[in-house]
């Protein structure tokens, strides 16, 4: 048992840490370079992951991590253009662009001819209402956008990459392979002389001598590369004045890009020493937040926490099965899971400098934490074993769902103006999400109560659980009730009305009314024990509708967390839950009838 456990723990800890073999170049410093993207300074590691996920839907391609992939794109674009990175899952799109039907990953060079042939017709879709486009048209548009960004990335550092042109004698740079930056000091002279040459001998190169041909080719190449580069703004790096600009903008503002050129040269020569030196020089002193974000990316705390929660459930079940009451291992797993979970959320708070919940994705992380933490608290206070199962189960399920709600890869988004307030994010949002968590816990307990009764659990255990259910619903009412009203007060502060019957507000109110209703039904004796428990179990459906359902409506002031494609999953969940509760209720009622008969 212990050996298996140790092996599992080791496996969980290691899965996320560099599964691939050590590459020859060390990417540590390179991955920590600061980059400005989507309104936030982040390590190049994050940028590379976001970009690669956007193109390919994964964080590693052909055995290379995202940072390695980006280094190739930036410093060896010719090879990068041949590597398959664009994921096209829609077969109709593959067929439309004349691509290999059996593959799903394509390289830039493979895509280029098909995209060029259909460019005009696809660009024509831009003006159309996005809701009226077919899935294929949407996928095609997105592919165009991705390829446009990718081609900008390929050209980001074109200024420091070898031009592959023989320079005429007077302009030689003394290097074997010269880049745009090497000619920069002579650029005006080169263009002037080339213009003079055209005036003298016309535009036909056949009339030029060898040196003149070289001059014309060089002048043309410099002009081309500069025009293409000047608008390039995808990747924003820090320049020597501490401002974030694209490499080309930086260059045009008189940065010489020397460290980047050294990196490019070392990369192309596969020289580990020089590469490390150049990357270290470019990196300078790395701020704590950048380190933290890299560590967050590398460890992936939430999948790991999910693993520990599941492991905790499995071990607990095994211990109970063996009728042992050793709780050390199950609690250790829960403890590890919680530690990782809290570390993950705290890292996000530090990196983003705001309270933990501002997006739908973050609400899942936080509600999940509440479930796990409440489970531990309930176990420690009342030795409630059901809480350990229910809390960890719900927490793991929510962590499993979370990645599906991320839009376009980036999980650390900046918030729209109205949400950009620490006070309300810290009070209303935390209160209401904690209320969601406790409601889910209560509902899961109610399921467990039904199941335990069918399994002939002792009456004392059932009564204890019933008591917990009653109290958790009261706590849920407190949190969602206060949270909803605090939301109203926030709305009063920012829009000038306390209540506007907006979908999100109505969703929150629905949970509150449901909780009030079941309390009063119980007090009035209108809901018997089974009905009360079924109503508590149904909280899962109510919470799911209020939490995700209203986002599907996509209307109202609150519709910032809009999600698509979740509708079906939500409908299935609600239908499944309703059916399950009905069956549990019926089976329990039958059991009572049998017992009486």
């Amino acid at each position: 048992m212990k050996k298996i456990l140790a092996a599992l723990l080791l496996f969980l800890c290691c899965t996320n840490i560099a599964a691939a073999a050590e590459p020859k170049l060390n990417y540590e410093s390179f991955s920590l370079l600061p980059v400005l993207h989507e309104g936030r300074v982040k390590p190049l590691d994050s940028y590379a992951r976001i970009m690669l996920r956007e193109f390919s839907g994964r964080e590693a391609v052909h055995g290379h991590g995202a940072t390695e992939w980006l280094a190739e794109v930036l410093f060896d674009p010719a090879s990068a253009a041949e590597k398959p990175v664009f994921e096209i899952t829609n077969p109709a799109v593959r067929e439309h662009f004349g691509l290999d039907k059996k593959k799903t990953l394509f390289s830039f060079s493979e895509l280029a001819p098909g995209l060029a042939a259909h460019a005009a017709e696809t660009q024509g879709l831009r003006g159309a209402d996005p809701e009226k486009l077919t899935a294929q048209q949407q996928a095609a548009l997105r592919l165009y956008d991705d390829v446009a960004i990718y081609s900008e990335l390929l050209r980001s550092f074109s200024a420091v990459l070898p031009l592959g042109i023989d320079a005429p004698a007077p302009y030689g740079t003394g290097k074997t392979e010269s880049a745009y930056v090497d000619y920069r000091s002579n650029e005006d002279k080169i263009q002037k002389n080339a213009a003079k040459l055209v005036r003298k001998k016309g535009a036909d190169p056949a009339k030029y001598n060898d040196d003149e041909k070289k001059l014309a080719a060089l002048a043309f190449a410099l002009q081309e590369i500069k025009t293409a580069g000047a608008n390039n703004g995808t990747l924003k790096i820090i320049n020597k004045d501490g401002r974030f600009l694209s490499p080309w903008q930086s260059l045009l503002q008189n940065d010489d890009l020397k460290t980047w050129q050294n990196m490019a040269v070392a990369y192309r020569a596969d020289d580990a020493e020089d590469w490390r030196a150049a990357a270290d020089a470019a990196r300078g002193k790395t701020p704590f937040k950048i380190y933290l974000e890299k560590a967050y990316n590398v460890t992936g705390p939430f999948p790991a926490a999910m693993g520990f929660y599941l492991l905790g459930i499995i071990i607990l079940a095994a211990e109970l099965y063996r009728k042992s009451n050793r709780m050390l291992f199950p609690l250790l797993c829960l403890g590890f899971g919680l530690a990782l979970h809290i570390a993950g959320i705290s890292s996000r708070v530090i990196i983003l400098n705001r309270p933990p919940v501002g997006t739908l994705y973050e609400s899942l992380l936080f509600v999940s934490l509440i479930c796990a933490a409440a489970a531990l608290a309930l176990y420690l206070r009342r030795k409630n074993l059901v809480a350990l199962f229910a809390g960890q189960g719900a927490a793991a399920f929510l962590l499993f769902l979370a990645p599906f709600l991320l839009q376009r890869g980036e999980s650390m988004e900046m918030l729209v103006a109205v949400l950009n307030t620490s006070f309300w994010l810290g009070t209303h949002v935390l209160c209401i999400t904690a209320g969601y968590g406790i409601s889910i816990l209560a509902a899961t307990f109610a399921h467990a109560w039904f199941i335990l009764r069918l399994k002939n659990a002792p009456a004392q255990q059932l009564n204890l659980l019933y008591d917990s259910i009653y109290k958790t619903t009261l706590a849920a009412l407190l949190l969602t009730g206060i949270g909803t009203i605090l939301g109203g007060i926030w709305a009063d502060q920012s829009w000038g009305r306390f209540w506007g019957w907006d979908p999100k507000e109505n969703g929150a109110l629905l949970i509150v009314l449901w909780l009030i209703w079941i309390q009063h039904g119980r007090i009035a004796g209108r809901l018997n024990r089974f009905a009360f428990l079924a109503a508590v179990a149904f909280l899962n459906v109510i919470v799911a509708l209020a939490w995700f359902g209203v986002n599907l409506l996509g209307i109202g002031l609150h519709s910032y967390g809009f999600i698509t494609g979740i509708a079906l999953a939500l409908a299935l969940f609600c239908a499944g839950e309703t059916l399950l509760i009905a069956i549990l209720w019926k089976l329990n009622a039958e059991k009572t009838r049998h017992a009486l008969a």
């Binding site: 307030t421 407190l478 502060q493 000038g496 019957w501 629905l510 209108r526």
Partner: protein
């Protein structure tokens, strides 16, 4: 006889104020909540709110169903009677009683807001001042006599004939949402009506985007008699002359005036670096009141309150040449009730939860 009736009344009161009352009244409210929320998709936010929530009754086909005002009103009434007459004033019930009182405070605030709150907005370009408030929804027809307001008729109360000025204004037709079409027929048309006519079309989902208007005829002014049109946002008012006085007819959002003036010194839109995503909006304003000048700043989530008015950063307008801030302005006497109600309810629920925890353990 009287005694019996009183007893019956008491029985009924007990019945409607027990916990049964919310048990039966909450489900319809929940159904209404779900229906009203779902309807916002096809109907639009404003229309659905008005039909389902801000109403006593609404029609579902031939069936009259209770609206939000009715259901919430019933719940509030039952809770009030229960709270005053049938509460159990014991320590055990203290938390519950306090919570119920908090709900009553909250609902009372809701009543004040529903009946008394006034919402409007103002548009102030940079370096200018304004004291005009515009209503979001109400439109009004104004007639000025030598630039002094003479008549103001709300759009939904426009009567066939408007008198009180030296001419008769006869309303021919109105449209909540008009389409402007080219006039094909000939006739005695004046002003913009010479070239265009208004046709009524279906109102859109967002009432703010509708174009309300009306056509009317003028009688009693000889050569100025004939048909005119007026619609919201018309560039020039209709000007008539009678008895050596000038009459201007303006149609648009209902206007009112602040008892003080606001000057916009600076409007700022802050974006996240390297994106077009807004991080925040703010307006630096100066309140000009009876010779006093108060500088202040209004930001998202940080409104300004002054003399019963609350000013919120709502939107902005931007052209190459100028920037203007759009502030929403609310006058609400019930504003503080949710704050007080929340505190009371929180205290009550916490008290009750603590009591339940202690009681069960003992």
């Amino acid at each position: 006889m009287l005694k019996k009736t009183l007893q019956k009344c008491r029985k009924l009161a007990v019945a409607v104020t027990r916990a049964d009352a919310p048990f039966y009244m909450l489900p319809p409210l929940m159904v209404l909540l779900v229906a009203g929320t779902l309807a916002q998709g096809p109907m639009g936010l404003y229309a659905a709110q008005k039909k389902f929530f801000s109403s006593f009754f609404f029609w579902m086909g031939p069936l009259p169903l209770p609206g939000g005002y009715m259901l919430i009103g019933l719940i509030a009434a039952s809770l009030l009677i229960k709270f005053l007459a049938f509460s159990e004033w014991s320590r055990r019930r203290a938390g519950i009683n306090l919570t119920h009182f908090g709900v009553l405070v909250l609902l009372f605030g809701g009543l004040l807001t529903a009946t008394g709150a006034k919402e409007s907005f103002m548009v102030i370009p940079e370096d200018t001042e304004s004291r005009y408030l515009y209503d979001y929804h109400q439109r009004t027809l104004y007639i000025f006599e030598n630039d002094v307001l003479k008549i103001a008729k709300p759009f939904d109360q426009l009567k066939l004939r408007i008198t009180g000025v030296p001419f008769d204004l006869i309303v021919q037709n109105t449209c909540v949402n008009c389409a402007i079409v080219k006039r094909e027929n000939e006739g005695n048309y004046h002003g913009m009506a010479k070239f265009m006519a208004l046709e009524s079309i279906e109102p859109g989902k967002e009432p703010e985007a509708d174009l309300p208007g009306l056509s009317f005829s003028i009688a009693g002014l000889k050569d100025q008699d004939g048909t005119y049109i007026a619609f919201e946002g018309m560039p020039e008012p209709i000007t008539l002359y009678a008895n050596e006085k000038e009459y201007k007819i303006v149609f648009g959002k209902r206007q009112s005036m602040l008892p003080f003036t606001i000057r916009l010194s600076d409007f700022e839109k802050e974006i996240y670096p390297g994106t077009d995503k807004a991080r925040g909006y703010s307006s630096d304003i100066v309140i000009l009141d009876n010779g006093l000048e108060w500088p202040a700043r209004i930001e998202m989530n940080k409104p300004l309150r002054y003399k019963g008015y609350t000013f919120y950063q709502s939107s902005f307008e931007q052209t190459d040449k100028m920037q203007a801030t759009i502030l929403s302005v609310v006058e609400n006497k019930g504003r503080l009730f949710p704050y007080i109600g929340t505190l009371i309810m929180a205290a009550g629920l916490l008290l009750h939860l603590a009591f339940v925890m202690r009681e069960k353990r003992a």
